[in-house]
């Protein structure tokens, strides 16, 4: 290995993650043979997250099996979803499993590369060199994406689709472009971009991408058909199950949503992102018991992020409420400290107040009433809006409940919570009020539709 590349590797921060001391030793030797100087170790999942938070490595060498029912893939997903790892860091998966290729083909978030043991330091360096080159090439795109500067990101992709520098990355540019269109909120362009990729090969991730593009266009049935085909042909593609769950929730098919995510959740152990999705689907489906045991599991065991988040705690309160256990709901609500509420989002604060009002109407009536103005103007998410409707109905604030429901109807969000809201109105003997709201929304839609 020549001096210049030794110099390059000397300046990179390595993190080696493996639960087996012998294997850590092997990877350290590899890294040092390449010239690496700063090599840190981690013995497993949680420790790795702590270290990455403290100091971002340039290169991560991570074994696929991390023990304790955890995998390198789960770690990668956690790091990317919670934005703990910048795109510039190289994540290299290391495994002795020949069939790891099939794993990579079946996940949405892929490592930058992987290498199958045994390998010489030369070969690891060969793959790292290429991964680092690719990172250098895409750096302006990563930056633009981080700043949600979609114009710059699109200009980068357009400039390199036929450039010489972009030639080795032409396929990667296609994929980046498709994902960019989704992130930008142009699902029609995203669909075209995924179709271009599918013209080359029926990659499961590209089919799932197309399904997601259709979902965002409210073409739920088509999206569902594609995602069901992906599940059929690539049963290891777990993300497709999550996508199907969300599509079913959008379609109001809560039963199938819960069944889908419950099946896959049972097979993927400690994937807490998925468990939260299960709790959402179960609550919509009226299975409050499952929602509540799932949220209790999440709060107790997903301790990677320190204190449980307010949104998780609120979800547990809702699950207890729907189970008819207001005592447990009260206890769970009290666990949300005043201090943590200071940094909460407006949605969370509103939900907190609404749930408080539901549990102790007399105490909370005044404060809840004071919020009336901001509730109308805040542009709350569907979950917080449903909490408000529920509280308003309990506090006999029928007018507020009606206004918030009307606002929900005028957005696409009503789809996901339609049955839930209808049940709330029904339980207060207000079926006719709900039907009127539904009628008005339908008329509004017809009036707004372009004349043909």
């Amino acid at each position: 290995m020549n001096d210049r590349s030794q110099e390059l590797y000397r300046n990179l921060k390595f993190l080696v993650i493996d639960d087996q001391p012998n294997a850590r030793q092997s990877l350290r030797i590899c890294a040092q043979t390449m010239g690496a100087f700063a090599v840190e170790f981690s013995s497993g999942y949680q420790d790795a997250i702590v270290r990455i938070r403290r100091s971002t490595p340039d290169v991560i060498l991570c074994d696929y099996l991390l023990g304790n029912d955890r995998s390198g893939q789960q770690l990668l997903e956690e790091l990317r979803r919670y934005e703990l790892l910048p795109d510039e860091t190289v994540f290299m998966m290391v495994t002795a499993e020949q069939s790891y290729e099939q794993v990579v083909a079946a996940v949405e978030l892929v490592p930058d590369d992987y290498i199958i043991k045994p390998f010489s330091p030369d070969r690891l360096k060969f793959r790292l060199d290429r991964a680092l080159q690719r990172k250098r090439f895409f750096r302006p795109l990563y930056q633009a994406k981080r700043n949600a500067d979609f114009d710059s990101a699109e200009r980068f992709v357009a400039a390199h689709r036929n450039s010489e520098a972009g030639q080795p990355y032409r396929f990667e540019l296609l994929r980046q472009n498709a994902e960019l269109q989704l992130a930008k909120g142009d699902p029609v362009a995203a669909q075209t971009a995924f179709d271009e990729i599918l013209g080359l090969h029926p990659f499961p991730w590209a089919r799932a991408g197309k399904a997601k593009s259709l979902q965002r266009q409210n073409r739920f049935q088509e999206a569902r058909t594609i995602v069901e085909e992906v599940i059929e042909s690539s049963p290891m593609y777990f993300d497709a199950f999550d996508l199907k769950t969300r599509i079913c929730m959008d379609m109001g098919d809560y039963e199938e949503a819960q069944r889908t995510v419950q099946d896959i959740s049972a097979r993927t152990g400690r994937n807490y992102v998925r468990k939260r999705l299960l709790a959402d689907a179960a609550l919509l489906n009226g299975d409050a018991e499952t929602a509540r045991s799932t949220m209790e599991d999440v709060l107790q065991n997903d301790i990677v992020h320190g204190e449980p988040s307010i949104s998780d705690r609120l979800m547990l309160v809702r699950s207890h409420l729907d189970s008819g256990d207001s005592f447990a709901a009260e206890l769970a609500l009290r666990k949300i400290s005043a201090q943590s509420l200071e940094t909460a989002t407006l949605d969370e604060k509103t939900s907190h107040l609404a749930l408080r009002a539901i549990l102790s109407p007399d105490e909370a009536r005044a404060r809840f009433g004071a919020l009336r103005q901001s509730i109308e103007t805040a542009g709350l998410g569907a979950t917080a809006q449903v909490d408000v409707i529920r509280a308003a109905l309990i506090l006999d604030e029928q007018e507020l409940a009606t206004r918030v429901t009307a606002a929900l109807f005028s957005s696409d969000e009503i789809r996901r919570v339609f049955k839930q809201v209808r049940t709330l109105f029904e339980s207060h003997g207000l079926e006719s009020v709900f039907r009127d709201l539904q009628k008005q929304a339908a008329l509004q839609k017809i009036r707004q539709a372009p004349r043909s």
């Binding site: 030793q25 590899c30 002795a96 083909a105 030639q167």
Partner: protein, 206 residues
Amino acid sequence: MHRILDILSSGIHDAKNQLFLAESLIAQAEAEHGLKLDEARFAIEHAASRLSRLLTAYKLQRKVGSLSIDMVSVPDLLEEAALISASHCTHLGLRLNTESPQGLGWLLDRELLLDILTNAIQNACRYARSQITLSATADEKGLTLKVEDDGPGYSEPDVETMTGNGVGLFVAAEIARMHKSGARHGKLALANGGRHGGAVFELFLP
């Protein structure tokens, strides 16, 4: 049947982990004591790839093997295959060249192709007199990967006969066949002659 496959897979998995530890310890000894133990490392990697190949062959025979297709850089594939055998060729006094169009990408299973090319190069090493060339060419019909040497050539340059003789050629022929594009599929061909007048191992992928 899947149980046997699981047992085989996990046994091979453990063995490869141990071989990796052995190889790393050798690399460490090389670095610490200024030794060159390339042939020891080569023997370890060789043993590991034989184990993987046996597992692949078993899966193919049982029809449970499948490909993981991705867009792969062909020059990188060739360069990596050459890198795996580079020190062994040097040790034998053989020149190993690669030739590939720049920037060419192809849809293929990288790990399986690497193994097949490595095996073909190592076979060539046993017979070549002075040189081996690994090359790639592409046209609208497909990608052709060749390993050519200047040895005496195949005793019987016939795929049907030769694939019965070894796991390596059996795997190569099956994996080539599994690479498909529309109605066309890949194939393995063996010949004598070529640019160096010896054996020609030729994989065609659509």
